[in-house]
Symmetry: C2
Subunit: 179 residues, 2 copies
């Protein structure tokens, strides 16, 4: 059985396509911080019940002194090193395509890809992203870690919405055109 669960890449990038600086800093995101404005994040998070995240990105959150949220969701942390689960957080060492196929064979809400670039590109290489919600931060970083690496297949998209916010964030929501 294949359900209609969708894999959604929900991510921020600078206008020039970087998700972080070269030294992995996300400080530029603070320029769009605004009291009472979450750019749709909480509503989005309620629409998903599984999360896929790369090990480096996961550890980056922890290193910043946060607990990784989504404790009530099925969280899959992609890693090459077998690691015991922590509560709902499963360290996943197998093939990413198989994980997506497995999740899509089960009923549930949508599936959130929380980055980083490595996992996002692996998903895109295998044409496994169904929707893209991209928050464009009003800055040219000039250098850094790119969201989109070369060597992916072409994919036509359908623009679902554009939203413009006071702090200059532009949020673009696409779905793949072939579904």
């Amino acid at each position: 059985m294949i359900t209609d669960r969708k894999v959604i890449l929900y991510i921020s990038m600078s206008l020039d396509g970087y998700i972080a600086t070269k030294d992995n800093s996300l400080d530029f995101l603070s320029m769009v911080e605004q009291e009472g404005e979450d750019y749709g994040y909480n509503a989005f998070v309620k629409s998903v019940d599984a999360v896929i995240i790369g090990r480096k990105t996961y550890e980056k959150v922890i290193a910043m002194g946060y607990e990784y949220p989504h404790t009530e969701k099925d969280v899959y942390i992609l890693t090459r090193t077998a690691t015991p689960s922590i509560g709902n957080f499963k360290f996943y060492t197998d093939d990413l395509s198989q994980l997506v196929a497995h999740l899509k064979s089960q009923q549930g809400k949508n599936i959130y890809c929380d980055g980083g670039a490595e996992i996002a590109n692996e998903l895109m290489k295998n044409n496994l992203v169904d929707e893209f919600i991209i928050s464009v931060i009003p800055i040219l970083l000039g250098d850094g870690i790119k969201l989109f690496n070369d060597g992916r297949p072409e994919l036509k998209l359908e623009l679902l919405s554009t939203k413009q916010f006071d702090k200059g964030l532009a949020q673009l929501h696409y779905k793949r055109a072939d579904k």
Copy 2:
């Protein structure tokens, strides 16, 4: 004297940041062609009276069987090879920053950077772009010629507008935040 003439980069890119495919094809732009919809191009063109374009991009237009438009504007074709002018079209071999300084010292309308990536990046490296009007085409090309190369300075922007069109084009208009 420095006038308030602005250098505007007006360009299309795929969502993943490419202005053309690897083999220099622009065929993907046809997906947003729509009778009677020019995405603001004619109004924009009326707001400029000088054009800066790279030699390769200029020749690409010619090779596609078009005449290069803008015959009533001052067109500067950036090249490393001294070439005689053709009417208003000047082949410019000197420093790009000097050209911009020269144009900004004279009264006139705005200055249109018509690409390609090499000229756009050279302008950005020298912090010479005042506004960005970027039409995001609803496609992931997967590979190609990037609009934004690594190794530019950071530049904070102010989002002036976002526009969403029927065919899925999202047009983002920014100006530099420091001016």
